[in-house]
């Protein structure tokens, strides 16, 4: 294995980190809005879950904003929100949960991609604290989506979100 580096990685996000974290921030803001839409359409138990998980995404967005400061995204990712707002605000509870299961899995993959790219340790630690929670969200939503198999809960075959498909 390579010898330990003598140069410590930067703490603060670098210039290239900022662009990547801005994308993640915009997606988190959009997820907050999508969960608010779902909360209005969901039954009692799923509404409780949507409110809780939406609150978590808001906390993630706020933490990313705190990290990025004046460089943070000013609005949610509009193309991502538009792509999913209909599915997130209509249908049965099972369908709604299925939509958000898919979105949470995509976000996990997206944040893993972010983590594998950014160099600043402050951003890495923040993103690393977000990923396990969104994985837990997915595990819970799988139950609401009627997925009974362990593979449906534990395996994540989703593709990460990218800036080409969802430009900020």
């Amino acid at each position: 294995m390579s010898a330990p580096t003598t140069t410590a990685p930067p703490k603060q996000p670098t210039k290239s980190d900022i662009a990547i974290l801005q994308f993640a921030h915009g997606i988190e803001l959009a997820m907050t809005a999508l969960y608010a839409k779902a909360s209005a359409a969901a039954g009692k138990d799923l509404k409780t879950v949507c409110d809780m998980f939406g609150g978590h995404h808001l906390a993630h967005a706020q933490s990313l904003a705190g990290l990025l400061g004046r460089s943070s995204a000013t609005t949610q990712n509009a193309s991502f929100y538009t792509a999913f707002v209909t599915a997130a605000s209509s249908g049965s509870d099972t369908e709604l949960a299925g939509t958000f299961l898919s979105l949470e899995n995509s976000l996990v993959k997206t944040h893993l991609g972010v983590l594998g790219t950014i160099t600043g340790t402050d951003g890495a630690q923040l993103v690393a604290s977000i990923i396990p929670v969104q994985g837990r969200h997915a595990a819970v939503l799988a139950g609401f989506a009627g997925k009974k198999g362990l593979g449906d809960i534990l395996d994540n075959e989703a593709e990460p979100l990218d800036t080409k498909t969802y430009p900020a």
Partner: protein
């Protein structure tokens, strides 16, 4: 002559005697400590009795390789524990389905260990494919003693072994997930951080599944408190961010007051890492 046997006008009065005597003792001690005479050939402090020689451990540096080796060792802790738990024969009757979950988790940990060893080998490092002794000593062995009992230590077996096995599994999965999250701050390369968290995220899902099995339904999703004990209930999603705090696991036979013994687990730190000099025995 007065009562002190010193003449008041004598140049050697009691005060002067103590001053002179004290100075002599201090000077002798200092010279003995600094001396390199025949009594202290290495210039060490003189000792009374025989002191067995000790060999210090080599210096350990928590490099990327060490962190990945430690993470691998934790995977083997989980694999070994699940193997022991499956051998207990607890998963029968209504708990029969749990065996499938435990087997799946064990298989996941085996895959994680293999993936980590692959990363280490690819980077020309030396793999560490056995359980972390320190984690066994500090957490897993005491936990199994509390569940199964230990006559020699005077520990009675648990009256709810299945519940305790589930609690221990939740504790171990949470510990593994937290370890990967913690190590992100120590790993130097972004691609290694992502690889680590890819595994840590799956351990989090394991923890969520176990929390729902222990505390099912909508009440078990978010954080809540046990009304009887005042302690946090297992939750599928305990908070908006992954915690790095200590993990409390209540195990064993209940005391007369109705409490189980609480074992506090923490992520492996500098004294529990699989350093490059450490070998599997």
């Amino acid at each position: 002559m007065n009562a002190n046997n010193f003449e008041m006008n004598s140049p050697v009065n009691r005060r002067r005697f103590f001053l002179t005597g004290g100075f002599a003792i201090a000077t002798t001690t200092l010279l003995a400590a600094c001396g390199k005479g025949p009594q202290s050939p290495q210039g060490e402090f003189p000792r009374i009795g025989v002191v067995p020689p000790t060999t210090g451990l080599p210096d350990g540096v928590p490099t990327d390789e060490v962190l990945l080796r430690t993470a691998t060792s934790l995977e083997f802790n989980a694999i070994d524990t699940y193997r022991k738990v499956l051998a207990l024969g607890l998963f029968t009757g209504s708990a029969a389905g749990t065996a499938a979950v435990v087997n799946r988790f064990k298989a996941d940990h085996e895959a994680h260990a293999k993936a980590l060893s692959g990363i280490i080998t690819e980077a020309k490092g030396e793999t560490f494919e056995c359980a972390n002794e320190q984690i066994n000593k500090l957490y897993i062995n005491p936990a199994l003693d509390l569940i199964l009992g230990n006559k020699d230590a005077g520990i009675a077996p648990s009256d709810t072994p299945l519940d305790d096995v589930m609690a221990l599994a939740l504790g171990l999965e949470t510990l593994a997930a937290q370890t990967y999250q913690f190590y992100v701050s120590l790993l130097s390369q972004p691609k290694l951080r992502a690889a680590a968290m890819g595994i840590g995220e799956q351990e989090s899902r394991h923890a969520a599944v176990l929390a729902q099995a222990i505390n099912p339904g909508i009440a078990g999703i978010g954080p809540s408190t046990n009304k009887d004990t005042g302690k946090p209930n297992p939750a599928a999603v305990p908070g908006p961010f992954g915690s790095l705090g200590s993990i409390a696991v209540a195990l064993g036979k209940k005391s007369e007051a109705g409490n189980k013994t609480t074992l506090n687990m923490e992520t492996p730190s500098l004294n529990s890492m699989a350093y490059e000099y450490a070998k599997c025995s």
